[in-house]
């Protein structure tokens, strides 16, 4: 049997986490994550360049970031639901998962109707086994670090840039954490290199984790500009 987000999300808990973050029906840690998400949204919404004035390129970058966050959030959510994690790995997932969901929430709210849709995923069993979970988590987090890094100099709005870099370094913390749990050096080199969007998508595609692609509507005629 293949596991997909859809089969795991029968009770709609993931959807609820994504779309109803202010609801009080979820566990405490999720509500705390929602606070983080709301604050992130506030930071973007309060900025002069946010909303309708955000440039098409920034919207495209935000949607790209959103897609990577969807991937990570779904991965941790599924791992938590599988219940295969123990000890430090379980505790790390319990911290990192809500943070990735908060990033998703923040980007979705900031993008509004321009937000890319959540793809569906099949993590190929990597959420069912602690060793494979940790190795995959390392890969996801290192990829996210490299992806944000490559986009940072392309971002036009200082407010969007401030949010992006403040998430970039958190992804690096996650990467180091997961690497340490795997038993490899948390920081293997003095310099981290960026990975461009095409290469990042090629890597993600090669995993077969994404079973339906996200649509980046912002590349067409952006309805949100009114």
């Amino acid at each position: 049997m293949t596991l997909t987000l859809a089969t795991l999300d029968r009770d709609g808990a993931i959807r609820e986490a994504l779309e109803n973050v202010d609801g009080d029906s979820r566990a405490g840690f999720l509500r705390k994550a929602a606070v983080g998400g709301a604050a992130l949204v506030g930071a973007m919404a309060g900025a002069p360049a946010a909303g309708a004035a955000t440039s098409p390129r920034d919207v495209s970058i935000l949607n790209y970031a959103l897609t990577l966050e969807y991937l990570q959030a779904a991965f941790y959510t599924e791992a938590e639901r599988e219940g295969a994690l123990r000890g430090k790995a379980a505790r790390a997932a319990a911290v990192v998962g809500p943070v990735e969901r908060a990033h998703v929430t923040a980007f979705r709210k900031a993008l509004g109707r321009a937000a890319a849709k959540r793809p569906t995923f099949n993590f190929q069993g990597t959420t069912e086994n602690q060793g494979r979970f940790l190795e995959t988590a390392v890969a996801f987090e290192d990829l996210a670090v490299a992806a944000y890094k490559a986009q940072a100099p392309r971002i036009q709005s200082p407010a969007v840039l401030a949010v992006a870099v403040s998430i970039h370094s958190v992804e690096a913390r996650h990467a180091a954490w997961m690497r340490r749990l795997v038993g490899i050096l948390p920081a293997a080199s003095p310099f981290d290199d960026g990975i461009g969007q095409a290469e990042a998508f090629r890597i993600v595609d090669s995993t077969g984790f994404v079973t339906s692609s996200a649509t980046t509507r912002a590349k067409g005629k952006p309805r949100f500009t009114g």
Partner: protein, 218 residues
């Protein structure tokens, strides 16, 4: 195993480094120790509240130089701190491994930034670390503070840098964040305490450096 995983995780050199240290007992002890993670996400609200209010001025090469000199001070401080701690020989196990690996990274950062600045590079000050390089507990606390400060300092300047300099700084800041997460892990603190990292203005960074009392002569 998917491509992504093998590509990113295959790191035999790093794994060998870890193994060579032979700190299995320490690592197992670490794995057993509980990691306090409760309530850390509440930081989120505070963390980003200050973001739009950051001082922001139009990027220019002259401003790049001022910012690079600020982070050069931090990198020099870190490099000297780890070098002295290793010379004094009081660090054991993973803490020693951390100081050795991270120390080499900070030296590489110093070399990189110094070269980028050329003649504009400020002279390295002299430092006095006292017991922070002698006592492992104090070392850990100071390293944690310095690495978190480094992350905040780079993040706080992102919008003030010209794009090419930002691209270069971005290659360093995530390494500082990895260092911060690692020393936090060793200390039994949450490696990533919030959904965003709070940035610091240049004034706040300078004040934080002053408070350490580690810098003797400018």
């Amino acid at each position: 195993m998917p491509d992504l995983v093998t590509v990113q995780v295959a790191d035999p050199e790093a794994a060998a480094l870890f193994a060579r240290e032979g700190e299995n007992s320490t690592r197992q002890a670490l794995l057993r120790r509980a990691l306090a993670v409760g309530g850390t996400l509440t930081l989120g609200g505070v963390v980003v509240a200050g973001l739009p209010g950051l001082a922001h001025s139009a990027p220019s090469p002259a401003q790049d130089a001022r910012i690079l000199n600020l982070v050069l001070l931090l990198e020099n401080l870190e490099a000297e701190f780890y070098a002295e701690a290793l010379r004094r020989g009081s660090l054991k196990g993973e803490l020693r491994q951390f100081a050795r690996v991270v120390g080499s990274h900070e030296r590489a950062h110093v070399a990189f930034i110094t070269k980028a600045l050329g003649r504009a590079a400020r002279k390295k000050p002299t430092f006095a670390f006292g017991n922070a390089t002698r006592n492992p507990a104090r070392f850990t606390a100071a390293a944690l503070a310095l690495e978190d400060l480094g992350v905040a300092a780079y993040n706080g300047q992102a919008a003030n840098l010209t794009k090419p300099t930002l691209a270069a700084a971005a290659r360093i800041v995530s390494v500082e964040a990895r260092h911060a997460a690692w020393i936090r892990f060793i200390a039994g603190e949450s490696p990533a305490p919030g959904p965003t990292d709070q940035p610091a203005t240049a004034a706040k960074v300078t004040a934080a450096v002053r408070r350490t009392k580690f810098v003797k002569s400018a």
